[in-house]
Amino acid sequence: MEYPYYPGCTLKTTGKKDEEAALEVAKLLGFELKELPTWTCCGVVYNLTSDVMADHLSATRTLIRAQEMGRELKTNKLVTLCSMCYNVLKQVNLMYKNNPDKLYNINLFMDTEEDYLGNIEILHFLEVLYNDIGLEKIKQKVKTPLKDLKVDPYYGCMLLRPKTIAFDNQDNPHVMGDILSALGAIVIENPMTVECCGAHQVITNKEAVLDCVQRIVNISQSKGSDVIVTPCPLCQYNLTTAQKSLFQKGKINYQTPVIYLSELLRIALSDNNENYLKEYMFIKDKLEKRGGL
């Protein structure tokens, strides 16, 4: 199975690890993510006004690219790894479904492109794993169970809000937890799992991000998590760097590592995970404690 795949800008730079791991996980699970040959930034934040169309152009152009590739691969799906790309693309897509006149206008404006027909379905990598591959198959493919590893799945905002684009229960999501359980990990219930990490406020109001992260990490740590798992490169950045600042200020006692879900999957699924474990000694220690890797 081949899926058209839209990486987004951050996965090519600071989120590179996520992309590398996800592409490999896909291979291990028997599907392939085929990157769109050309793509533009998705816009990162969905323009919430009712009258500005210009900000939807970027996402629409990507949807057209997906439409072109979809014809070739005989699918109408487009997979994203980044939560914000998922959110923006899906919201724009939904906006066109609800407002065909807006789709007509934007097609008129983009006169050098083919018309977007509004049929693309935006999927997050998690949805592919959960719905298309299935927990059973993931379970079968596990080479190194993550037994004894206490993981705290952190969703953030963009996968579950607004409700119209959520692929999981908005207040009590389970998809990521289920996948992690399938890998053998112990999943911690953190009520802050859908809480915001402060997002782009890291640029203009860093204090707010520190507050948000402190609340999330405090509960995670009090529940004894070994690692916080996230699918979003901005959450990963905010949680990691804010913890560093909080630790320096003495507001938290230790820093919990924050890693991408795809990285944990790769560790659990690949035949030879020595290299990947090197980066995460704490996981190796944990796994070795229960006797042998």
């Binding site: 951050t10 600071t14 006004t49 009712s50 640029i203 203009t204 490169p233 901005l234």
Partner: protein, 134 residues
């Protein structure tokens, strides 16, 4: 009690309703949005109060930092029992300012350039610029 709403106040309310597509009078001031907001501590004025100010056409609402601090996480919109999309109202208020040529950030200022340290993901920069510059 009788409110008198200034001409400009009425205009602001109308503009916010137009840009956001929300009926501002749906709000009955339960305060759930403010209780749920993850960044309310950094705000001059809590989100529910902002909406009250827009309802009453109080122009002071535009001097608050609330809508700039908003991270557009949609928690308020998810919690609202009256289905008011508060995130859209915040976006409308940002747009009232931006369309009046009052940018929140100057991307050529020293402070802003200094924030662009090597590790920062582009998505954060793009998002901040999309929300704070016309």
């Amino acid at each position: 009690m009788v409110f008198t709403v200034s001409e400009k106040g009425l205009e602001l309310r109308k503009t916010v309703e137009e840009i956001s597509g929300q009926n501002i009078f749906q709000c009955y001031q339960c305060g759930k949005c403010s209780a749920a907001c993850p960044v309310v501590d950094s705000m001059d004025m809590a989100p529910n109060k902002i909406i009250r100010f827009v309802q009453t056409g109080d122009l002071e609402v535009l001097d608050q930092n609330t809508f700039w601090v908003c991270a557009a996480c949609f928690t308020c919109s998810a919690r609202c029992p009256r289905s008011v999309d508060i995130a859209k109202i915040m976006e409308a208020l940002r747009n009232v300012m931006l369309r009046n040529k009052q940018d929140f950030i100057n991307i050529y200022s020293k402070e802003f350039i200094e924030k662009m340290i090597e590790e920062i993901p582009q998505m954060a920069i793009v998002a901040a610029i999309k929300k704070g510059v016309w």
